[in-house]
Each structure stands twice: as structure tokens, then as C-alpha cells.
């Protein structure tokens, strides 16, 4: 299957997200074709300070996808995912904004109709692939590994149409398919990581991170899995300030890669701040 792929700005610098996503998508034959000449989605900065430019940024990405005849745009970042969807909703309900967006995009001979479906790669793996097919690629038994699935905010909120709002289960299902155990009743699944507020207001956001980490420990997890570069960074980086035992924070694609027998270096696990060593868990 072929998808238009919007990597977003943080994908490349994220700890092994790029390497693991590329390796895993090749194994699963979910072809992610980068949307040529994409730009930043604008994220919360533009929604906070701008009207029309906040819509133009995501609309340009979607217009480029339309130009190259992609029916679906796959994201790997919750903020990109929600920004594209939010822009799509706002433009669908306001003809005047739609006209203005197209007038601006015409400067680059682009046009936006809103025809693409906005998706997240985790959800693509769970919904478009047969779990039995995924299982065929498993080479490493992960049954001794318990994972706390951390979804963050902007995948499922505010829509709640691809999974349950407060208790999403999609990544839980993926973890089970991979043969690992899911930490039961992990209640911090959708607690906010603090997003960009971690920079100026770290003290105020640390209680959130404490909850995400301590609940993972309390539910017997040995690692947390994430699906967004900012979530991963915010839960990984400040752990030394928490006086709790460290817990590694992996991307769901790295977890898949481990199950598929890829090497730690293929998945760039050494880029994680809290190290994850497969050997410790027996494999």
C-alpha cells in the first residue's frame, strides 16, 4: 500500500523515529512516499497568534499531497496530525476561508480541496494491516516485556473518532500483536506531556511527567511506548529530575523493529536518553 507521507520537522532529529519507521514500513510494505517540498504545519504557535497563515501552512501540505494524487496523508507526529485535521475541519465549514486559502495558494499554482484523509502511521498499521500478517514478521519473542502505551493528547482529542477519548486501545492492540504484554489499567495514557510548555514552564509540567512515569512503574511496565516526537522527548528527557527509577521511552516503530528482529543500531536505540537494552529483557 502506498501513502503520502508528511514527516514533519522533528522526525529526523527524533531518537531513531526516522530509522525505525523506514525499516518497519519496508518490512510491512506500507510504502510511505514523502510529500515533496512539504513545510512546517505551524503547530500551536500559529493557531495561537495567527488566523489565515495558521490555515495556509497545513493547507499547503495537503495541497501538495493532492497535486501528487495522494488520497491519504500519513503523519508520525500528534501535533502535525491534529493541525492538518483541524485545518481541514475549519476550511470545510467556512467557504470564505476556503476561497482565501486557495487565493494565497494560487501564488504557487497550488489548490486545496480537502480531499485527502489525514492519518497517523500507528493507526495505519493497526487498521489497514491484518494482525496475522504482522505476526508473520515476528522473529523475537517479547512476552517478558511489559509496555505502558502512552498516546498523549492530540491523536485522539478533540475528535475521538478513531479510538476512545479517554482510554484509547489501538496501540495496546498493536503491542499485543507484537507479542509483548500491555500494562493493564495504565491510567496516564492520555495525560498531557506539557508539549512546548516544557521549555518555559518545566516546573509546572513535571507533575504530568511524574504521573506518566510513576503510573507506568506502578502497572509493572519496563518501557513506555509513544507515537509523537514531542511526547517521547518530554517523557524521556526530564526523568533525571524525578527521583523515580528511569524507564525507557520507545517509539512504537522501535518496538515493532525489536519484535521483527532488527538490530539496536538499525533502530538507533542509543539515541534514547534513558537507555533501552534488549539483552536485559532476554529477547
Amino acid at each position: 500500500m502506498k501513502y503520502g507521507f508528511f514527516p514533519g520537522c522533528t522526525f529526523k532529529g527524533a531518537a531513531g523515529y526516522k530509522e525505525s519507521t523506514e525499516a518497519v514500513s519496508q518490512i510491512l510494505q506500507t510504502e510511505l512516499v514523502e510529500i515533496e517540498d512539504w513545510n512546517c504545519c505551524g503547530a500551536t504557535s500559529y493557531w495561537s497568534l495567527e488566523d489565515l497563515p495558521a490555515l495556509i501552512l497545513p493547507a499547503r501540505v495537503m495541497a501538495l499531497a493532492e497535486k501528487h494524487n495522494f488520497k491519504e496523508v500519513v503523519n508520525v507526529c500528534n501535533a502535525c496530525y491534529s493541525t492538518l485535521r483541524k485545518a481541514q475541519d475549519k476550511l470545510a465549514e467556512d467557504e470564505r476561508l476556503m476561497e482565501q486559502v486557495n487565493e494565497a495558494l494560487a501564488e504557487e499554482t497550488l489548490s486545496y480541496t480537502g480531499s485527502t484523509k489525514i492519518r497517523h502511521y500507528m493507526e495505519v498499521v493497526v487498521n489497514d494491516l491484518d494482525p496475522e500478517e504482522i505476526k508473520k514478521h515476528i522473529k523475537v519473542n517479547l512476552k517478558h516485556l511489559t509496555i505502558a502505551p502512552y498516546y498523549g493528547c492530540q491523536l485522539n482529542r478533540p475528535w475521538g473518532d478513531i479510538d476512545d477519548l479517554q482510554h484509547p486501545v489501538m496501540m495496546d492492540r498493536l503491542i499485543e500483536t507484537l507479542g509483548a504484554s500491555v500494562a493493564t489499567n495504565y491510567s496516564a495514557k492520555t495525560v498531557c506531556c506539557g508539549a512546548s510548555h516544557m521549555m518555559p514552564y518545566e516546573k509546572n509540567c513535571l507533575p504530568q511527567i511524574r504521573r506518566i512515569v510513576s503510573d507506568a512503574h506502578a502497572k509493572g511496565a519496563q518501557a513506555i511506548s509513544t507515537l509523537c516526537p514531542l511526547c517521547q522527548f518530554n517523557v524521556d528527557a526530564p526523568q533525571s529530575a524525578l527521583d523515580l527509577p528511569d524507564i525507557p521511552v520507545l517509539y512504537f516503530t522501535q518496538l515493532m523493529g525489536l519484535a521483527f528482529g532488527l538490530e539496536e543500531k538499525d533502530l538507533q536505540l542509543k539515541k534514547l536518553l534513558v537507555p533501552f537494552k534488549m539483552a536485559v529483557w532476554g529477547g
Binding site: E107, C153, G160, K271
Partner: protein
Amino acid sequence: MDNAALKEKFFEKYHGEELQNCIQCGTCSGSCPLAPYMDYGPRQLFQLAREGDMEEILKANTMWLCVSCYNCTVKCPRDIVITDHMYTLKKIALQEGIQAPTTKLPALYKSFMGSVERYGKITDISVMNRYAFRQPMDVMGNAFLALKLARRKRLEYKVHPVKNLAGFKKVMKKARELEKTS
């Protein structure tokens, strides 16, 4: 702008009129991760808006502490899109030149935008370089973390701009022109 004009802008241009549906139940404030640090929780803020005390609202740090987690929005029993109203209040505050004395968020947002306007993209470094000029202590405090990231080759020093940068900038310029005339 006086209170009445500000309220009109909020309620009419930015659809704030749906706040009339608020039943003051406080679910928003109760579900907000950063409400304890806000001058007013969202519930109080919306009551002040209905009473027309816009100047007081725009001085508050409330909307600047909103992280856009949408927890309040999905829990509101009156289906008020609270997060979007927080975005609106940030925009009006800056349009009016009002900034809560304690908030550093405009500096962060502007640093982010500075990189996007120049390259069409960001990297951690391209945003932090700009933010360092505005809030040097925040960036200095993270120097050790930056070192750890650098050692793991996680910092991107160079921004790879959008290919058609001239075209991208023309589109953004046109958007701003259209916004002014509308």
C-alpha cells in the same frame, strides 16, 4: 479598544458567543493540567467574558498556559470548543498589545514563527537560537540537556528549507494581505 468593543470582537468575529451556553460547571477547570497555575481557570475566565470584563481577561495568564491538550474541550457538557477560545484570546491580547507579565509563551511562539517564516520549517536549534535572545535563562538552564542530545547526534544544526522557498514566501505574504483586507 474598550471592553464593549473587545467583547464584540471576541463574540462576533471569533465566535465567542457560544460561551453563552456555558453552565459554569467547572469541568474545564477541573480537567485542565495547568489550571492550578492560572490567574483564572477557564470557567472563571468565561464568566468574566460574559460580564464584559475583557481588559481583565486579556491581562490574565490563563490562555498562555493552555497547552492545547483538548481535555476540557472533550469533557465540556455544552460542547464548547474551549481550546479554540484560548487561541482567540491569545490573538486578541497580542493584537491589543497586552501581555500577562508572567508569560513567556509569546516569546516561544514568535521564535518558532521566526524560523518558519524564514525557512518554511523548524529544527530544535532554529527555534532555541531565537528563543535564547528573548529568554536566555531558560535556554542556559537546558545547556546540559543540549550537550546530552548533541552527544547522541540528536541535534540538527542546519535547517533544510522548503525547496520552493520563494513560492512559499509568496503564499505567506498573500495570506497576510488577504487577512488585512478582510
